[in-house]
């Protein structure tokens, strides 16, 4: 893959926008970034290569389940997130892995801090995205957040969106 700084910049702009929506808890707008055939996957910490087809994973959402997750997180009955935690999504080391006219595949590193109830818990890991080109912009077809953590020792759950 030859260096393509402009494409990388375009991806970065999109990922930073996504991160800002999450940190602002603008979850409906965030959901609107996804294609109808999307997947959002978070494998378990002990099996980073986990495949939802045959392994246990933390999260394997299609659009319907992602919608359910957003509805939940907006509810005052989502006790782990009501009141909402403060989060900060730091996205870095962005690389474009593959690009066609229809889709761009990209990787990035992340640290997502969750701050609540006197605790600061960093989720450390890396993303893999498949971004579909739709109406001159990107839509997320695939987002995988793989944690580098050994266990969720500080976190207790993955109650926020990574």
């Amino acid at each position: 893959m030859p260096e393509a700084p402009l494409l990388r910049l375009e991806v970065e702009v999109f990922l930073y926008h996504e991160a800002a929506l999450l940190d602002d808890w603008r979850l409906d707008e965030w959901l609107a970034l996804f294609t109808p055939d999307c997947a959002y996957v978070v494998p378990t910490t002990d099996l980073p290569e986990g495949d939802p087809a045959h392994d246990a994973v933390f999260i394997d959402d299609n659009y319907e389940r992602l919608q359910g997750r957003v509805t939940r997180l907006k509810s005052r009955h989502a006790h782990r997130e009501y009141p909402s935690s403060r989060t900060r999504h730091l996205v870095t080391n962005v690389r474009v892995l593959q690009a066609s006219e229809a889709e761009v595949e990209a990787a990035a590193a992340f640290v997502v801090y969750r701050i609540r109830s006197g605790q600061v818990a960093p989720y450390i890991g890396h993303y893999r995205y498949k971004l579909a080109r739709v109406d001159g912009g990107f839509r997320i077809r695939y987002k995988r957040a793989t944690l580098d953590l050994e266990t969720l020792r500080e976190h207790g759950a993955v109650s926020i969106i990574l």
Binding site: A56, V57, R72, L152, H155, A157, V158
Partner: protein, 443 residues
């Protein structure tokens, strides 16, 4: 808690239908220490499932009651469990959580043990005297290792009752679940464990896992999500499907084992959900028919229709429900912290479609990324924080004490607590670590 006796930690008044637990039992460092000595060092503790140890050399590593151990299937086909420490100077010999190995070499000085625990290699052995016995320097086996229906348990108490006696009548419930998958090749562990820590006392998680009462309140958003899907499919709502309040009961057996049972739709073995495809529903109906054919109407129906949420005292939660089949291991690490190790099991020969439904429904509820478990974590941490209000000393566990116990009553928790107190003993102890604690406690 100054001067309080262990026997005073529980106020058990069956004649008045009242049961209360003193909250120091979930905050005191002394009690935490006593639990390690008297409960975790003297019970049968689950370590691994047969399906994780199929091939010679396959091993699983764990810390149990503070002790590093590992279990391995030897070249001779036998399963053994060892204390994970080199008999030379102590370094860990098994250094990964799972894998397969013919030998375990200590990296410190290179002593090498085979997968039967024998010391087979010592660099420069001429340095040792004639009295040095290689056989004696083999890995130290755990004091007791036994299995029941594919589940391997360890005990550090050499003279503990055998595992079958220990499990007692709870075996009837365990057998229902184990037998139910025999038609489909038996249960096997799915790769991918959930490992997470809750800032709460371990007994809160035991209670929570045996608690049918909290579902509508704590799990509002999960129930709402399922109801929206069920209603879209023209079906009745989730709690009507699950019937926690009726066609259900709590059970409590000797030695603190127990649980709650309830009618449950959406079990791939074998009670369909209207959300599944017609083909999948037909397949589940067929599994159900075969279960009844093989085990009879009563037992077959019981296997298929009812969910079982069990505690194998002290720390293994055995769950077979519409959210799948799972072992949840509960490991206390401090009075206010518990490590959870959650493993899902699946029937080996289940069809890909049913497997997908099973895993989807497990994820939707259970585990750190589910729509339900994070709220349990919040509830438990909230209880632990509430225990800081020292002037409110007691928790109430009385529910259902004066009626035939339903699944959303608390009989199963009282059974657990009574055994907990029995194991701990009723002797006095003081409020300071090392102060007023009778020597006998350390025996």
């Amino acid at each position: 808690m100054g001067g309080m006796h262990l026997s005073e930690l529980i106020r058990d008044e069956p004649e008045r239908g009242l049961f209360r637990v003193h909250r120091s039992s979930m905050t005191s460092r002394e009690i935490f220490q006593l639990e390690q000595e008297r409960i975790f060092s003297r019970s049968w503790l689950y370590l691994a499932h047969d399906s994780e140890l199929r091939q010679a050399g396959e091993y699983r590593r764990k810390t149990m009651a503070g002790r590093p151990v590992f279990i391995v299937r030897g070249r001779d086909g036998r399963v053994r469990a060892f204390m994970n420490t080199c008999t030379h100077r102590g370094a860990l010999v098994c250094r990964q959580d799972q894998g397969a190995a013919e030998t375990f070499q200590c990296f410190y000085h290179g002593w090498t043990f085979n997968n039967q625990g024998e010391l087979v290699g010592i660099p420069d052995q001429s340095g040792y005297s004639e009295c040095f016995d290689r056989v004696e320097r083999g890995l130290t086996p755990v004091p007791r290792l036994e299995s029941y229906r594919g589940m391997w348990f360890v005990s550090f108490q050499p003279d503990i009752d055998d595992l079958v006696t220990y499990l007692g009548d709870l075996r009837e419930c365990i057998d229902l679940t184990v037998d139910s998958a025999e038609l489909l090749g038996g249960w096997e562990v799915v790769p991918g464990n959930a490992k997470y820590t809750i800032r709460a006392n371990w007994k809160l998680l035991v209670e929570n896992s045996l608690d049918g009462y909290h579902l509508p309140t704590v799990h509002h958003t999960y129930i709402d999500y399922m109801d929206r899907r069920l209603e879209a499919a023209g079906s009745s709502r989730l709690l009507e499907n699950q019937r926690i309040g009726h066609s259900s009961n709590g059970v409590s057996y000797a030695r603190g084992h127990g649980g709650f049972l309830h009618f449950s739709a959406g079990r791939t073995i074998a009670n369909s959900s209207p959300l599944w495809s017609p083909e999948a529903q037909a397949e589940v109906a067929d599994i159900r028919r075969r279960l009844i054919e093989r085990y009879g109407q009563d037992r077959g129906t019981e296997m298929a229709d009812r969910s079982r949420h069990l505690i194998i005292f002290p720390n293994l939660l055995f769950q077979d429900s519409h959210t799948g089949m799972r072992f949840r291991q509960v490991w206390p690490v401090a009075p206010d912290a518990v490590e959870v190790l959650q493993t899902d099991l699946v029937p080996r020969d289940e069809s890909a479609e049913l497997r997908a439904y099973r895993l989807e429904w497990s994820r939707a509820f259970l585990g750190p990324g589910g729509l339900a478990t994070p709220d349990d974590v919040e509830a438990l941490e909230s209880c632990q924080a509430g225990f800081g209000a020292l002037e409110s000393e007691w928790s109430d566990v009385s529910r259902g004490m004066s009626r035939e116990p339903q699944a959303n009553d608390e009989l199963q928790m009282r059974g657990f607590w009574r055994e907990w107190q029995h194991q701990l003993g009723g002797r006095a102890f003081g409020s300071e670590v090392g102060d007023q604690v009778p020597q006998a406690l350390h025996a």
